[in-house]
């Protein structure tokens, strides 16, 4: 597993560490291939794969740079990118802190339970007092350490004059501990240390699961984010080139743009001609032909090149930056969304607290002493402490997002699931969302020999059309022919020799609408056309949404004609030629009518709408801004995960409501006992663990749901 020891690397002493993301790894074989393949390369000391995060950490001599490593991985058959910081931030610290607190609570719970069981089974006198003291010694530090996540959150809420689920939890835990300490000193009565620590353990288990799941999905999304367009090769005065970060670009600089590059800044073409894919920026599916003097925008992807672009506006002035500003404003409303657990606790906490107060007053009036009345009031608080309530939501959401990950949908957090369940209308972007967003080669006209030659040529190129053609051919099981002397002329295409005949794959000579390549074998010429096809299951996915009472419509930035064709094929209303502002305002119109909108889109131009929508989903091929703005990201070529997401989210909310129901029923059974003053620590412990286990068991049913 570790790389073989290499003497000469040690001499370089200062080894460098580089982390790369490799989204394509899927199995144990990939891990072995990457780790062993990289370790065999001269200058690489060791490589270690993190499969969950789809990352490779490489220890190598400083002679190698990122480019060499990416190239090495490409040779092994994996697309890789040097790792940028994940802009979604890392929840890693939080989930680690929760796990530590969980471990401490587990330790405390088991040991206190050991002592409590002896007390319940009749240990009395000095032994009981000793066990209570021991329990106190264990419980106090455990509560202080493991309770921090709840105390901190409750304190924050109280300071701003609000209440959340953590307020009743904290009060319950603190009162149970305080009462038990008092009883231990007094040397009689009951100690509830086990209940307090058990409550913390179960609640922390829910929180830790929740945080782990969030870290996992965010790492998954982070691995999808590309580095495209974040830097540019800039032509220096001396004719050399240097790589400059997008934010450091200045107007007047000249960027070199090769095919496949994304533009990092707005500019004017100085030299060269080619075509640009604007689909991320405007939603337009057909490439735009540009030549010297054309104005180009950041975010566009060059399909052919090379071109020299003089920067006219950089970073904060670009069209993209304007969209980012719109997004910031649009995202405000969503942050005000109140999650179901907090809505429940707003009803629950006052009810419980007034019940406890009534119990105290009632027993006082009935003539019990203030001490006994207080003990009973606290018992009411302990027994109603929302252990099951606290688990009701995270348990169901964790199981649901686990089930969705298996179907190719990464949901960012629980709040996203809650909002997804509420949507009643879906708005789809066209390019890249309903369609695949990349040209699909029509290879049906090619014969067997043509396929073999075309594959041999297309494989040799990084041009988007070549790659799409190679993928399509490989998908149909074609094998490359023996083509020799393959050369690639930038902007012209590929040429080679096959069985003594000249063969070529390149631009058609006459201009054709849409995208096409010309395959030449000797004198024979064939035109291969490319079209951006619908996702294969788009119609079924929309039908499934309609089944759930969600109407769909298309809102695209593409031209009327292209949008109409798709709208007709899918039989849904459509709006074409919408600018980012138009998308946003249409969405806000719908929301002001009380509709809950699900926005599904991939482009930079969809960003503001994604941020403003009640819930939003982006495909894994989407631009970084869209993936960051969206609540969920689906991977793969199918659109069905979108429909499944809503179905699963709704099922999840049904289970959550059932869980709340179960917790309330449990309390209704237990509260009379507490009010009657007969709740012993044993009853409290059973009530607490019993209700928690039932809630968790009920949530696990979500994992077994068939689609």
């Amino acid at each position: 597993m570790t790389a073989p020891f290499r003497q000469q690397d040690l001499k370089d002493s200062a080894l460098a560490d580089t982390r790369l993301t490799v989204p394509g790894m899927r199995c144990a074989g990939c891990i072995a291939k990457i780790e062993r393949g990289l370790a065999e390369i001269e200058g690489i000391d060791a490589a270690r794969v993190n499969f969950s995060a789809k990352r490779v950490a490489v220890r190598h001599s400083p002679r190698l740079d990122q480019g060499d490593l990416v190239e090495a991985l490409r040779h092994l058959g994996f697309e890789a990118q040097a790792l940028a910081d994940n802009p979604l931030g890392s929840d890693d610290k939080e989930s680690k802190a929760l796990l530590r607190a969980l471990a401490v609570a587990g330790f405390g719970m088991m040991n206190i339970m050991l002592l409590s069981v002896s007390v319940w089974s009749g240990a009395g006198g000095v032994t009981r007092d000793l066990f209570h003291w021991l329990s106190a010694i264990i419980a106090l530090p455990v509560v202080a350490y493991s309770g921090r996540p709840f105390f901190a959150s409750a304190w924050m809420a109280l300071r701003y004059g609000r209440t959340n689920m953590d307020v009743p939890i904290s009060i319950g835990v603190l009162l149970a501990t305080g009462l038990s300490v008092y009883e231990t000193f007094a040397g009689d009565g009951h100690a509830y240390f086990d209940s307090a620590v058990m409550l913390l353990f179960f609640l922390l288990a829910g929180r830790a699961l929740d945080a782990t799941m969030r870290t996992k999905t965010r790492a998954g999304i982070g691995a999808l984010l590309s580095k495209m367009g974040k830097s540019a090769r800039v032509l220096g005065r001396d004719g050399g080139t240097s790589e400059i970060k997008a934010e450091d670009l200045q107007p007047g600089m000249v960027m070199l743009v090769a095919s496949g590059d994304a533009l990092a800044a707005d500019g004017v073409i100085e030299k060269g001609r080619g075509s640009l894919d604007n689909s991320m920026l405007t939603g337009e599916s057909d490439p735009e032909h540009v030549e010297t003097g054309s104005v180009v925008h950041a975010g566009a992807i060059a399909l052919s090149g090379p071109m020299e672009v003089r920067v006219t506006a950089a970073s904060s002035d670009t069209v993209i930056a304007e969209i980012a500003r719109l997004m910031d404003e649009a995202g405000q409303s969503r942050s005000r969304y109140t999650r179901i657990a907090d809505r429940a606790s707003r009803l629950y906490a006052p009810a419980v607290h007034s019940l406890a107060l009534l119990a105290f007053l009632g027993w006082m009036l009935a003539g019990a002493g203030w001490y006994q009345s207080l003990v009973i009031a606290i018992a009411v608080l302990i027994i109603t402490c929302p252990c099951a309530m606290g688990l009701a939501v995270p348990a169901a959401q964790v199981v649901t997002s686990g089930a969705l990950i298996k179907r190719g949908l990464l949901v960012k957090d629980g709040s996203a699931l809650e909002r997804l369940a509420e949507v009643d209308i879906a708005i789809f972007d066209k390019t890249g969302t309903l369609t695949l967003g990349e040209p699909q080669a029509d290879i049906s006209i090619l014969g067997e020999k043509q396929r073999e030659v075309a594959l041999a040529l297309a494989q040799a190129s990084r041009h988007p059309l070549s790659r799409s053609l190679a993928n399509a051919l490989q998908g149909e099981g074609a094998r490359p022919a023996q083509v020799e002397d393959i050369t690639e002329a930038e902007g012209q295409g590929l040429a080679g020799t096959w069985q003594g005949m000249p063969v070529a794959l390149g631009r058609p000579e006459e201009e054709i609408t849409g995208m096409a390549s010309l395959l030449r074998i000797g004198p024979a010429q064939t035109i291969i056309t490319f079209a951006d096809g619908l996702r294969a299951d788009a119609k079924q996915a929309l039908a499934k949404l309609a089944e759930q009472g969600i109407a769909s419509r298309i809102l695209s930035g593409d031209r009327q004609r292209a949008v109409e064709a798709v709208a007709k094929a899918l039989d849904v209303p459509a709006t074409a030629e919408a600018k980012p502002q138009d998308k946003l305002s249409l969405l806000e119109d719908l929301q002001s009518q009380g509709r809950k909108v699900l926005m599904v889109g991939d482009g930079i131009n969809d960003g503001p709408a994604l941020a403003a929508a009640h819930a939003s989903i982006a495909p894994g091929s989407a631009s970084d801004v869209s993936q960051q703005a969206a609540d969920a990201v689906f991977t793969g070529k199918a659109l069905m995960p979108v429909a499944l997401a809503v179905a699963h989210a709704r099922r999840c909310m049904t289970i959550v409501r059932q869980n709340f129901g179960l917790a309330v029923v449990y309390n209704i059974c237990a509260v009379p006992l507490a009010l009657a003053g007969v709740v012993t620590p044993l009853i409290a412990a059973i009530a607490m663990s019993g209700s928690s286990l039932i809630v968790v068991g009920n949530s696990l049913r979500l994992a077994r749901v068939k689609q």
């Binding site: 597993m1 073989p4 199995c27 144990a28 074989g29 891990i31 072995a32 794969v49 993190n50 499969f51 969950s52 995060a53 680690k96 796990l99 530590r100 471990a103 401490v104 330790f107 088991m110 040991n111 050991l114 032994t127 000793l130 021991l134 264990i138």
Partner: protein, 49 residues
């Protein structure tokens, strides 16, 4: 009673040992890549010495 004086410290000590081991494992990064750990068991051991 005298048995308890021996047994309780042992029980607590074992529990603390387990807790300490968990903390060590977490600091050591053993929970960083749980999916990977599940996959790695399938890799054939054909390591060159």
């Amino acid at each position: 009673m005298s048995g308890l004086l021996v047994l309780i410290p042992i029980a607590l000590g074992l529990g603390l040992l387990g807790l300490a081991m968990f903390f060590w494992a977490m600091r050591d990064g053993q929970f960083e890549d749980l999916d990977g750990a599940a996959q790695r068991i399938l890799i054939d051991e054909e390591e060159e010495e």
